[in-house]
């Protein structure tokens, strides 16, 4: 019953939440010696899952039929470590301005994902309310 938006957008929002946690961990460890900053990988995972599953081409009504989305539900943001060299003496490669701007971008992403989710829900709402 629910279209692709209902599958893809919640996963994106999950990834945004994880991203926020990773960024705040980086900020908290701004002074920790030898700490390497962490970041999130999600976009490519999602792209691969959508490519594998042919979700946009096939449609099944029953999950017991051909499982054409083997990977989409399991797509999760991966936490990776950034081991690039730092300009600091203590081996810590966290740049507070970079983390701050990443946090701002992440918050904006979350806003747009929730707005798009609202649109998706509204479409069903329009039809359901309009039918008398």
């Amino acid at each position: 019953m629910f279209d692709i938006n209902f599958k893809v957008l919640p996963l994106s929002m999950d990834a945004s939440v994880k991203n926020h946690q990773v960024i705040s961990q980086n900020m908290a460890n701004f002074s920790t010696p030898n700490y390497k900053r962490k970041y999130i990988s999600f976009d490519d995972e999602l792209k691969r899952a959508l490519g594998n599953s042919d979700q946009l081409k096939l449609k099944t009504n029953n999950q017991k039929h051909i499982n054409n989305t083997p990977y989409l539900e399991n797509v999760q943001a991966k936490i990776l470590e950034d081991d690039s060299k730092s300009l600091r003496n203590d081996g810590n490669n966290v740049d507070i301005d970079t983390e701050n701007s990443l946090m701002i971008q992440n918050a904006l992403n979350y806003s747009s994902q929730s707005r798009l989710m609202t649109y998706a829900i509204q479409r069903y709402d329009t039809v359901l309310r309009g039918v008398k």
Binding site: L9, S112, Y119, G130
Partner: protein, 98 residues
């Protein structure tokens, strides 16, 4: 004399044809509705595609996604309203019959 009658006949036949075209205005409306529904469908598909592009990181402008979603939403609301009006009009007509 006979030629003139024939010519009058011809012009009357043409006029009749024009009238029947107007009477088949009902069929034109049906195709118009079909086109509208197709458009709405395409706009929905387009909006979904934009959302997928956005979440996989392909889009470079967020306003593109929002505008596509807004167009889909507006066209769906318009079509739903039009459909409601048609159904209401139909019910009205049904009530009028004896």
């Amino acid at each position: 004399m006979i030629e003139r009658i024939n010519r009058i006949d011809n012009s009357l036949i043409q006029k009749n044809q024009n009238n029947t075209e107007k009477n088949t205005g009902g069929l034109n409306f049906q195709s118009m509705l079909k086109d509208a529904i197709n458009d709405v469908n395409n706009l929905q598909k387009n909006a979904n595609e934009e959302v997928v592009n956005y979440t996989t990181g392909k889009t470079t402008d967020v306003h593109q996604v929002i505008i596509a979603a807004e167009k889909a939403s507006l066209s769906l609301r318009l079509t739903t309203e039009v459909t409601n009006k048609i159904v209401e009009a139909y019910k009205e007509i049904m009530r009028m019959q004896l």
